[in-house]
Symmetry: D2
Subunit: 336 residues, 4 copies
């Protein structure tokens, strides 16, 4: 397989590095319209060919796939060109700037039987896969709530607000972990320094009494990256800032006895052991790269396929609509 | 001064203990309709007289004040009786179950020139007073956001939801700290085990771009009690679970240069020292008791007076309305 | 049972409080030569009789036992008087100022068939009993090392150095936990402000390759109370400053394959799950009080009997000898 | 400058990477007797020339300097050869296996006016340089004690014990930070799996009442890297495992009033603010590389010169002697 990485800003070089060490990858090429970025990459990866233009890449029949790591506003155009040129496609998250764009890319890929994959990196981390396993095998029980915090000082984006920048990660993780489908979204936020929200709170509701909530913030003095998942059988805390023991599983809960009157309801707390499972520490991006190669070879759908990408964009788009309407609840359509 | 503490469940005995060691308190009496609670108190405080009935307390002319630590649904009735009997009144938080009740109590107290105080204990903690000082003297700068988390496994209440139980603390702290007045409230939550919300998120908006947000939860496997206040000059993290260094003050922020175009905006991060100020560790409740005594003597308004109590109930009532309407934004009236 | 608590400084009132709520205790009396301390106790415990003198207590035939919570230099004299007066005896830790004194108290108690118990409180904590259970049932495997840190700013003692003050706790815990008997002691320390060591390091060696080490410090800006026990099967970290999860059990270790040459030795690391067992949070002192009562009634030896007290004093005395000799290794005698 | 890195195991590639991006470095070569290591380096750094032999490097007149990152037992031989071939020399820590070797290397370098530098990387970290600054400018006051813990599961070394492996770092840090010179060393340890100590405690004494102590351990289930420095004016805690706020400076201490009698001594605790200074996060190794280049050019002594290397080896050698004698105090000679 020969893969071209397009966009060599912050994330692109990580893709280059990982594809270089992925089995089945014969050659890695790269391109960035910004010559500084291209030169930096050339210096760091002397063995990687820097293409002259995006078109030059698309014209080469020996190149199997394109990985697009450019700003989100360009994903649709660049992605569609790649698919139309017959290339498999890996898109940086979020997949596209609008639901329609995402749908259109999916259709194009299906029509041409090309692999379309979205780089939801966190889905490939050991911790997230471990939680998925615990939800699947019943260890968590029914999920009651999902609470996520991703805050930090920093990296204001010019073209997207803090939800598109940070919550994208968390929505992709939530969608991967939960069996249920979100039915509505609401969001509140505040703009302080630029025309984009830098602090925001997002609520996602489901058909049952499950509630998910996300706090994202570019103005926090402390860096917090945590997810709490409350289940009927176990509760999980995922603290990504911990160097060890990122995941803690609590045998805690509430036993609520049926009651004759309100005041005679018997609430009992179950407080058992906590444990921190061993988590394989393979780099997520290397697993993602291997998944991409394997899907191109076998034709199967990637774990983070176009649909997964679309599902995230749908929530993001609804969040924007809610922000604009002052926090109104936006129903998610059932389509596709 | 002679003070009668009514209601000897979880909190009442703390009031008894603190009044016993407050200068200016001559005698402490107590009463609970539940004889078990009364007996436990009698055993723990052999020097405290247990009254026979609430009416007996109100009839005694030598008793100056009544402190009511019963369930919130009874505050209005018991409080009004006390005021009408000419007693100064300390009410457990929240002050009342409805805005009208709170207003009515305020009017009665004003008419009779009696001290009406609400036990917003946290306002008297060293940490909260320290933050107030930093906001007052300009160290924080303009407040950009206020983020509060109070979650834990436990203590389901029978008569109120998790917002009334836990967010009451945080709204009283916020109201005390911020100069601005809240203009609207919205809330989302979920009911899992009983007919009351056990997980909830509350958003409070202000006239400017300041946003406040509260996460309260009875179903969390970990105990978190933190407040982050982002200001233009300094940012503060108050972690009440830390045994030492509860308060951390960060010289961090964003410098946003005026921009010619979106992409040329110059964002600079300011990352300076952090410091943890020494916090006086006097028990909050003992300061509150002293404040009550002093206000009765001097006739001045307490820091946490009826108005402070009303302001909290107004937000709580709006939160309930929002919960019922699926998260609608509820404007707060300007009255009183 | 009627029990007299002698010495009402920092610790004595805790004994009074616990004996008051211990089944089988009919009456608690107390005494302190310092009238201020006696008056404070009288105010706090109005139901407790304050004796006029120590001799008055010893003369009363209805008093079964004496609990001595005075400075260590007085333990021997007061304890011996009590035993000679036929009273059961609970001694604050450390049991005595010298090995000879401890031995003499033991002999007196044995001769008179009286209960002699030492208040090694930590031995009765849930965490320490849990570790004991894990060592007993083989979960830890062979203990390889025992590392203890107890440091803090404060509470310089006038009559003893930091080893007698702080390491006493840790030696009593270690002796309780480990099956092996210590064979030698060495200690280094430094004196900065007074004539007593305020920083010290203590090493205890055993017959096999087990090593125990203790860091005690009155001059630390941070409070650390931790014990790490490395075993062949599991390793335990006991962090007493954690509000929850004080105990963490690690399935970690080293597998060392027999080697043909030095360089071909195969070291493999075993890194499995960590878990934090639930720990019963009964107050240690209430268990100790119940143990004392039960031993007096049944005549059986307490868990922390005179021998346990002597074993601690023997290490402390050796530590002093080592300090004086600049860190020489002091062998512990096998006697008694 | 052209620099050859010899030894491409764990650390050598880091030297290659840093020299590649250091101003003034024209070319980086490398060599490892083990062809696997050489090939891995060739793959990772395609732009770096792999030499055929060590001798080939020494013969090339265009090569200015050799950086030796081989096992410590080979440092002396390889280093001496390099100096005799007229090359400047950077030696991995510890500098040599014996004091005599270190002295001999220093003499050779001085005779030939070549730069001799030791890679005590930690000395170049932002945190350590910050502490040095605080000690120098008097903020710490007199240093009372120095307590260091560096423990972890792992990486048993085949040729050296845990003191040579881990305490080397800490001794180099201590020597850099403290003005005083160590006068004696004692060490205790235990051997569990191999013929080398895997747990050890090291005490270093100074002329005054300053005491330094080091806990190093290959068998700890948790990773701790901390240094506490107690000073008369401020106390510093350096926790290298913290992602942010590695350094905390405490305005804490003891005021000890002169006393008339032992019991009337007035001890007062000073508890002021804590602060965490901003630490420049430049990679230590890049600063070290720049220092090496600058010293070669200017002829000045590096911060971590041969003398600094010798001072560390002297403590390590004394620690070994103490371990062998069961913990005896070994005086450090004053020579050189």
């Amino acid at each position: 397989m020969k893969i071209a990485v397009v966009g060599l800003g912050y994330w692109g070089p990580n893709l280059v590095r990982n594809f270089l060490s992925t089995d089945g990858v014969e050659q890695v090429l790269c391109f960035d319209a910004n010559s500084n970025s291209a030169n930096r990459a050339k210096k760091r990866f002397p063995m990687v060919e820097v293409a002259e233009s995006y078109e030059a890449i698309l014209r080469r029949p020996d190149i199997d796939a394109v990985a697009v790591a450019t700003p989100v506003s360009t994903h649709y155009k660049l992605g569609l060109q790649a698919l139309k040129a017959g290339k498999h496609l890996l898109l940086e998250k979020p997949m596209a700037a609008r639901v329609e764009e995402a749908t259109s890319l999916m259709e194009e890929a299906e029509k041409r039987k090309l692999t379309l994959m979205v780089d939801h990196t966190f889905v490939y981390t050991g911790a997230v896969r471990k939680i998925k396993e615990m939800i699947k095998n019943g260890e968590i029980g029914d999920v009651l709530y999902y609470d996520s915090v991703r805050i930090n000082l920093g990296l204001f984006q010019h073209d997207v607000n803090v939800i598109w920048d940070l919550a994208t990660h968390d929505i992709s993780i939530m969608n991967f972990l939960l069996k249920q489908k979100p039915v509505s979204v609401s969001a509140v936020g505040a703009v302080h320094y630029n025309h984009m929200e830098d602090v925001a709170y997002l609520t996602v509701r489901f058909a049952n009494n499950l509630i998910a909530h996300f706090h994202v913030n570019w103005l926090s003095p402390v860096k917090i990256r945590s997810i709490i998942i409350g289940g009927t059988k176990h509760m999980v805390v995922f603290n990504d800032m911990e160097p060890a023991e990122k995941l803690k599983v609590y045998d805690k809960g509430v036993e609520f006895k049926e009651k004759e009157s309100i005041y005679s309801a018997l609430v009992q707390y179950r407080v058992g052991n906590m444990y921190a499972p061993v988590i394989p520490d393979k780099e997520a991006l290397s697993l993602l790269a291997a998944e991409f190669i394997d899907c191109m070879k076998t034709g199967r759908k990637p774990i983070t396929d176009g649909q997964a990408g679309l599902n995230v964009v749908r929530v993001l788009e609804a969040a924007d609509a809610s922000l604009k309407s002052g926090g109104k609840v936006i129903e998610l359509s059932d389509k596709r």
